[in-house]
């Protein structure tokens, strides 16, 4: 492990030497400039010290102490002490601490302060991380939600993206899989506003980076930037919202060492239940009866399935349950070391996570290292160096989990999953058991190292002016196969060893178990691939912050350049004669050897600005934006300008409120409007081009390369444009007893990318590049209501709730007349992802048929299957071609909307917590609704097994069944996409629960540690939903996917 980190770091340094010419010169130049800055020393500076305590005189550690007008500052140490330099005697100290009212103290001639904070509202004093800087919560005019790092650190989840859901407004998410290493959530900020890539931009410590596998313990805060004012600094990257992650920094004070650990037990939230062998055979015979075919299973066989007397000839397996191991372990250890002296602060953390999968071969291990040093190189110069590295090590069976679940769902209970002696059997030449335990392995290891150094210099000759330069070199910050996806796992080095999957048979004559064949390849195969990506980011900041009387002015200009490079290389061999997986050991026959590789690069250049003006802390205006250029497009279409404006009014600062309604702690209304962009499609669509590929055709006995025409170029292609409007209110009554924050938002996305396929005939023969042509709107509202009450010094109760609703509408898309001219089928005007199908109105009954088996006159014909029977699904005849009256035939003209999109429109969270003496209890209930999911899980479909629900099938005496009459293969009539299979995907779950106990101070002192807390925590603990046999966040309409996990864990948090 250690070796791995070292190796990649060497690589990193090596690469730095090979920075592209201009970039490296620029880098050196910046360093020189900043070095010049460093040697500038300040005049007139005052050194002040102080101690901060609460009402009771207890020292408050970690309070923020800043000079008004300058975000930078210091924090109190564990004894409540601080010490810092202030520019001059006119400076005003701002002391803030979570849960206390912020205090402002003019420095004057005093150099030593004893400061007492009174408890008050939590959020008022917060400093919020926003794009390219921080802002005070009170003066912010944009819609920004924040999540504190502490809230997520102890949750027993591996992937950070799973920690955000339900904690803040604006986050629409779905966790589609529980597979270790690939179990991240799909996160959308305020839903979907585009038919293109809808993923938000993710920024870690100022740089676009993958965040989902950071050590949760190393996160200081997460900001969700939602409206135009918040995302404007990200220009072409901002339209889908931005997630800002800030990692921890050191705090001034004595060194502290903190150890966090938990161990948890994982089980599927819901494990799909299947029929048993007797039920399966009976069901199949019933299907044969319906088709007039002889029974597949004799009475003798049925009896054997029932009595289990011949398990190898008449098996009865609970396939999925037998394949998985219950109570698999997830464990996490983290050690943090931090502290700080007068001019230097440091933070270092190492983390180790190990997560076992539902079966032995699946394992995920992660090693994280975070290191950060902040130093005052001079009294006016701050240097910050941070390193953030990790190794992600995933191991799986040779067969993918998708195939494993496909096979597990397919294998009927009466197939020999395994024999009584443990040997694996087979079904249709596949071994569900062997797929997992005998297929070889896949291993992907990701190495990531994120490095950055920044130097900030106060410019003493203009008060409040500072410059900052930041250079970052990231090794593997993104996955080259999915570069635009900030959630894609990093997979630097992959190896796959596929072996023959032997399976056996039972020979009753000799009572022996001969090997009868094999799944997988006839001989072992091995392949390796290397993915590598690098990103160079350069930022130069000019920061200004000053007060003029009651006016407060800030200004920011950032110039940014970013280049990335990536490459992929892979090789493989088949037909191994030896069982040692090394490339060199494979067959040397040329047709058994393969390799591939490609590379890509990207460039971006931008200028960011933000100006804010506040008068008396009441009237706030802000203008921000970005001039952004991207390599995606043709020259002259590369640069765009994305401005935004915001204004806020703090009514609570007005005399008429302050004096008359003292219980109004804070009341602010704010609004914003602006434009941002999105890179929705793929790059280079402006070029006419051809793609080369291998193994095109075999000519003259050998395989050849092929070349095909890419889609027709669009030289005018450019970014998507988003116009966002947001109106919000923030309020706080009785010092935090009630807080209410509400936002209404509206976005119109235009220039959305669509291939104009339907405008040319199908005979055109080649795809068209996307054109900027579509439009879509997205609107909704967010509400968060919270209350915190300190009943006594021992009892605090709080309740936080949040609610997000977002509904989009397609305004302009390419549609064929068949759908556009039929009001029922028209996509335009409906939400993206609206589900269409036939409207099922029940089952046919005997009464619908003539004696000869034909449908009675007057009943609309439906010709999906040639013959219909009682118990087949009946569809509604609603229209004729072009959208008219019913025409007596069920045709595609009768398709109607049958369900909401699968992405929830409503997401909410309810977070009650209680702290009593040493105990703390915090719960996160989370729900989603206005979501429909299409389920098409049919018994015997493609020779598959049957889920337990399939037993509820139609018979003349059981007409109100879930499933139609049973057939040996589901009939085309009954598998038509219809409202019959739409399921309400709403759910409500206890997503997280945590019960902690902090040892009393007396005990702590006796064992010579600073603090210790034990906790019991859980994830996905309880779920309520209409979908019963699957987790409601099901991501596959066939149900064949690695299910979400429930985790129960115990943890420990000790500070030495």
């Amino acid at each position: 492990m250690k070796k791995c980190i070292a190796a990649s770091y060497v690589c990193n340094v090596h690469s730095l030497k090979h920075l592209p010419g201009i970039g490296f010169k620029k880098f050196i130049f910046l360093l020189v400039i900043l070095f010049l800055g460093v040697i500038v020393s300040a005049q007139n500076k005052l050194h002040v010290t102080g101690v901060v305590t609460n009402d009771n005189g207890t020292p408050l550690a970690d309070c923020s102490v800043t000079v008004k007008g300058n975000a930078a500052g210091t924090k109190t140490d564990s004894k409540g002490m601080f010490s810092m330099d202030v520019p001059d005697s006119k400076s005003v100290l701002v002391i803030s601490y979570v849960g206390y009212q912020t205090l402002e103290i003019p420095v004057g001639k005093t150099t030593s302060f004893a400061i007492k904070l009174t408890s008050g509202n939590a959020s008022l004093a917060d400093v919020v991380v926003v794009g390219y800087g921080t802002q005070k919560r009170t003066s912010i005019t944009a819609a920004v939600a924040t999540i504190n790092g502490d809230e997520i650190a102890s949750q027993p989840v591996a992937d950070l993206s799973n920690s955000l859901g339900g904690r803040a407004t604006g986050i629409i998410f779905t966790q589609g899989s529980g597979e270790p290493g690939y179990d991240g959530s799909n996160i959308l900020i305020r839903g979907i506003s585009t038919t293109g890539n809808a993923q938000p931009l993710v920024i870690v410590d100022g740089i676009p980076r993958n965040f989902s596998q950071l050590d949760p313990n190393s996160i200081a805060s997460i900001s969700i930037l939602k409206d135009a004012a918040a995302v404007a600094p990200y220009g072409m990257g901002g339209a889908n919202g931005v997630i800002l992650i800030t990692t921890k920094k050191g705090k001034t004070g004595a060194p502290t060492l903190t150890y966090n650990a938990y161990v948890g037990w994982q089980n599927p939230t819901r494990l799909t239940k299947f029929v048993n062998a007797y039920q399966f055979a009976t069901l199949f015979n019933a299907a044969d009866d319906n088709e007039g075919a002889p029974h597949a299973y004799s009475d003798y066989a049925l009896q054997k399935y029932k009595d289990h007397s011949a398990p190898d000839l008449y098996p009865d397996h609970n396939v999925l349950k037998e394949l998985i191991t219950p109570n698999t372990i997830i464990t996490n250890h983290n050690l943090e070391f931090s502290g700080g002296a007068e001019r230097i602060k440091y933070y270092a953390g190492i983390g180790f996570l190990s997560q076992n999968g539902m079966w032995g071969p699946t394992k995920y291990k992660r090693y994280n290292l975070t290191a950060n040093i902040e130093a005052d190189a001079t009294k006016t110069t701050k240097v910050n160096v941070s390193l953030n590295g990790r190794v992600e090590d995933r191991r799986f069976p040779g067969v993918s989990s998708g195939s494993i679940f496909y096979q597990a769902f397919r294998t009927p209970p009466n197939a020999p999953l395994t024999f009584s002696n443990g040997l694996p059997g087979s079904y249709i030449g596949r071994s569900a058991y062997g797929n997992i335990f005998g297929s070889g392995y896949t291993q992907t290891v990701g190495y990531t190292l994120l490095n950055q150094i920044s130097i900030e210099q106060q410019l003493p000759f203009v008060k409040g002016l500072s410059v900052k330069a930041l250079v970052s070199y990231d090794f593997n910050p993104f996955n080259p196969t999915d570069p635009g996806n900030p959630f894609a796992p990093i997979t630097t080095f992959n190896r796959t060893w596929l072996t023959p999957i032997l399976y056996y048979n039972y020979d009753s004559a000799t009572n022996s178990y001969p090997q009868s064949g094999n799944d997988g390849p006839a001989k072992p195969q091995y392949s390796e691939s290397y993915y590598q990506s690098q990103a160079f980011t350069y930022q130069a900041y000019l920061n200004y912050h000053n007060n003029f009387g009651k006016s407060e002015v800030t200004g920011l200009i950032v110039l940014e350049a970013r280049n990335t490079k990536s490459s992929v290389f892979g090789a493989g061999r088949v037909n191994y004669s030896v069982n040692v997986p090394e490339l060199n050991n494979g067959s040397s026959n040329s047709t058994d050897i393969s390799n591939y590789g490609y590379s890509a690069e990207s460039k971006q250049k931008s200028a960011v600005y933000r100006v804010t003006y506040g008068y008396a802390g009441k009237y706030l205006v802000e203008a921000s934006g970005r001039y952004d250029g991207n390599y995606y497009f043709a020259p002259n279409h590369r640069f765009g300008f994305f401005p935004a404006f915001a204004a806020g009014w703090r009514l609570s600062e007005e005399g008429f409120i302050k004096n008359k309604f003292p219980w109004i702690t804070n009341l602010k209304i704010r609004g914003s409007y602006g434009e941002s962009g999105a890179l929705a499609g793929s790059p280079f669509q402006y070029l006419s081009s051809y793609t080369l590929y291998g193994n095109a055709s075999v000519l003259n006995g050998t395989t050849t390369q092929g070349l095909y025409e890419n889609s027709e170029a669009n030289t005018n292609i450019t970014w998507e444009r988003a116009k966002k409007t947001d109106v919000g209110i923030e309020s706080n009554f009785w010092n935090g007893l009630l807080t209410v924050e509400a936002d209404y938002f509206y976005e119109k996305r235009t220039d959305m990318l669509f291939p104009p396929t339907v405008t040319v005939p199908l005979e055109y023969g080649v795809a068209l590049a996307q054109v900027n042509s579509g439009a879509m709107s997205n609107r909704g509202f967010e509400l968060s209501v919270g209350s915190t009450r300190h009943f006594s010094k021992d009892l605090t109760v709080s309740l936080k709730t949040n609610f997000t609703f977002a509904r989009n509408k397609l305004l302009q898309v390419f549609e064929t007349d068949a759908t556009f001219k039929n009001p029922n089928r028209r996509k335009t005007g409906r939400p993206l992802g609206t589900q269409f199908g036939y409207k099922a109105i029940g089952y046919f009954t005997q009464d619908d048929f003539n004696p000869d088996g034909t449908l009675k006159a007057g009943i609309p014909t439906q010709a999906f299957s040639t013959t219909l029977h009682p118990g087949d699904i009946k569809y509604a005849d609603v229209s004729s071609p072009g959208g008219g009256k019913p025409d007596g035939m069920i045709t595609p003209d009768d398709i109607v909307p049958i369900g909401h999109p699968a992405t929830p429109e409503i997401i909410y969270g309810i977070i009650p917590s209680v702290a009593y003496k040493g105990f703390d209890l915090s719960l996160l209930f989370q729900g989603a609704s206005s979501r429909d999911f299409y389920m098409s899980v049919f018994a015997f479909d493609n020779s598959s097994s049957a889920i337990i629900d399939a037993l509820d099938y139609w018979t003349p005496t059981h007409p109100n069944a879930v499933y139609p009459r049973i057939t040996t293969q589901p009939t085309p009539n009954n598998t038509q996409t219809s409202s019959w299979w739409i399921r309400n995907g709403a759910y409500f779950r206890l997503k997280t629960g945590e019960l902690g106990y902090t040892l009393p101070i007396t005990v702590i002192r006796s064992i010579k540690i600073q603090s210790a807390r034990f906790y019991l925590s859980g994830q996905n603990l309880l779920t309520w939903s209409k979908i019963k046999n699957f987790d409601p966040e099901i991501s596959s309409s066939t149900g064949q996917y690695y299910p979400q996990q429930k985790v129960i864990s115990i943890g420990l948090n000790v500070t030495f």
Partner: protein, 555 residues
């Protein structure tokens, strides 16, 4: 100090200039230039013969991939039934319940409208770009002929499937052609004439023998002769096929390969019977025919194939006795209770039946002995629906099972046209044109002689000869995906495909004797609507996107 301050401000301004806010927009654009390495441009493709050839390789790759179909086209005909219920032949074709919106040829078979027009565009683009290029005339002549052959091949797939189709001979461009990119359908005859004329024009530009897998003169003439036959232009068809026989046949370039059974095996890929075919390289670009379509279970109960092709009793009954008489002839010596003795060799080389050996096992389809391959009358697994499996075109000398269906380990050619078909095409065309003259006997008897069958009885009437040719053709070309088109062009699909197809129920009687009884089988209930099913429906998406298209009658 002041100097330092000035330096700092000055430096910051320099950074600003450096980092891109320079006044010249063009140069700023240029700083973002990237030339992608993973694609080529017009300039590099059409200036170099080698690169243009790579484009042509891709077009060859689009030809029908008949060794990778899990539900081959004979399953649509009366030759066979798919052993499992979900593919197109069972869900859509069996009861002809496909519609313009549902017919999903893109799932496997090569008759998809959009796919063929994609391929036609590739050919049109090649023709336009190479014609306009500075490549040598020699190159142009050779390759343009090949590409025009391929274009004709794709058009003939559309033409057989849909009737007259829009004839598009240049790459469409909405930018330069505007509304003229919308083409109406040409007629059946116009489409035929286009194919026939193009093939006639390029045949002599093609080499007599070329690289295996590439188009040759023989390929062009064989395609032309077949299309003429399909269009009922019997005189033309007789002439064209005669031209092949006279100029290229009789051992000059083509001849019948000595052994019918192993003709289709990889060791005999280099035979002189193949006229136009697709080649395979195992694992790299191999075939999965055995894993998809051969006998389902082999030794130890392992499922080594999906059993995708189950021959029908109707086909089995068309194999003659080894004395050359059809089983319906009382003199043939056929015994329905000993149905598999003294049949002609192609039966044994094409069909796996109860008691025959395949791969590593004797295959028993009889009932009541617990055989995994027992005829699947309840349609509950992949075992045969009919009591038969295919042997023809399947190689049991490779590892069957997942290695074949996942690993594409098959290596034998897939034949689009072989010399035996040319002989049969000629015999049929000549019989229709002038009646059963000696040249008709000569052609069909060559095909029979290769499989040790006696020559046809002299003096057959035209009708009797037609019947003989049709039976010979069905048997000789079984499982080569020809049967459907024969039923269509003979106008008998509404008869042969409007019936219940059969399998064979074999039970063990007293004393161990086997009792054979034809049975109706799952998937064998066929429908065909003569008023519309002779043509496939044009996809609804094509109609939606091109108002000038008209649907075929009845859909």
């Amino acid at each position: 100090m002041n100097r330092i301050q000035i330096k700092i401000i000055g430096s910051f301004l320099i950074i600003i200039l450096l980092m891109g806010s320079s006044s010249c927009k063009k140069s700023l654009d240029e700083t973002l230039d990237i030339t992608p390495h993973d694609r080529l441009t017009d300039a590099s493709v059409w200036t170099d013969a080698g690169t243009a050839d790579v484009f042509l390789n891709d077009i060859y790759g689009q030809l029908p991939d008949g060794n990778n179909w899990y539900d081959p086209f004979d399953n649509w005909s009366d030759n066979s039934i798919c052993g499992f219920g979900w593919p197109l032949s069972r869900t859509d074709a069996q009861q002809v319940n496909y519609t313009p919106s549902t017919l999903a040829f893109w799932t496997g078979l090569p008759f998809d409208w959009g796919t063929n027009y994609n391929n036609i565009r590739k050919t049109n683009l090649f023709i336009a770009k190479v014609t306009a290029s500075t490549l040598t005339d020699e190159y142009k002549k050779k390759r343009l002929a090949e590409v025009k052959f391929l274009r004709a091949y794709f058009y003939h797939l559309l033409w057989m499937s849909y009737g007259g189709v829009p004839i598009i001979t240049e790459p469409l461009s909405v930018a330069t052609q505007g509304d003229s990119i919308f083409h109406a359908r040409n007629t059946f005859d116009e489409t035929f004439n286009f194919i026939q004329t193009d093939l006639a024009a390029i045949a002599s530009d093609l080499p007599v023998t070329g690289d295996p897998g590439r188009a040759t003169k023989g390929a062009a003439l064989a395609l032309k002769g077949w299309c003429e036959l399909f269009a009922h232009k019997y005189a033309d068809a007789a002439t064209t096929n005669k031209q092949i026989i006279d100029e290229l046949g009789n051992g000059q370039t083509y001849n019948l390969f000595s052994d019918y059974g192993t003709l289709f095996m990889p060791e005999n890929n280099a035979n002189n019977e193949g006229i136009f075919y697709r080649q395979y390289v195992p694992r790299v670009k191999g075939g999965r025919n055995e894993g998809y379509n051969a006998s389902t279970f082999t030794k130890g109960g392992a499922e080594t194939s999906w059993g995708g092709v189950n021959p029908t009793q109707e086909l089995v009954d068309d194999y003659e006795m080894d004395n050359g008489l059809p089983i319906s002839d009382p003199a043939s010596g056929y015994d329905p209770q000993k149905p598999y003795v003294h049949r002609e060799t192609r039966f044994y080389e094409s069909i796996v039946y109860d008691g025959s050996f395949w791969y590593n096992d004797t295959i028993y389809t009889r009932q009541g002995i617990g055989s995994a391959n027992e005829i699947d009358l309840s349609d509950h697994n992949d075992a045969t629906q009919t009591g038969y499996y295919i042997r023809k075109r399947c190689n049991d000398k490779i590892t069957l099972g997942s290695d074949n269906w996942d690993g594409a380990s098959g290596g034998q050619n897939y034949y689009y046209f072989r010399y035996a078909e040319v002989l049969l095409n000629y015999a049929e065309a000549q019989n229709e044109t002038v009646g059963p003259d000696l040249s008709v006997y000569d052609a069909i008897d060559k095909v029979r002689a290769r499989v040790q069958l006696p020559a046809l009885t002299p003096g057959l009437s035209q009708d009797a000869m037609r019947t003989a040719i049709r039976r010979e053709r069905r048997v000789e070309l079984a499982f080569e995906d020809k049967r459907w088109w024969d039923l269509i062009r003979w106008n008998i699909a509404h008869i042969n495909l409007n019936q219940q197809l059969h399998g064979i129920s074999i039970t063990v009687g007293s004393g161990g004797t086997l009792i054979y009884a034809p049975v109706t089988v799952p998937g064998g209930d066929r429908k065909f609507n003569a008023s519309k099913n002779y043509l496939f429906p044009i996809p609804q998406s094509a109609l939606d996107q091109n108002k000038k298209l008209t649907q075929n009658p009845g859909y």
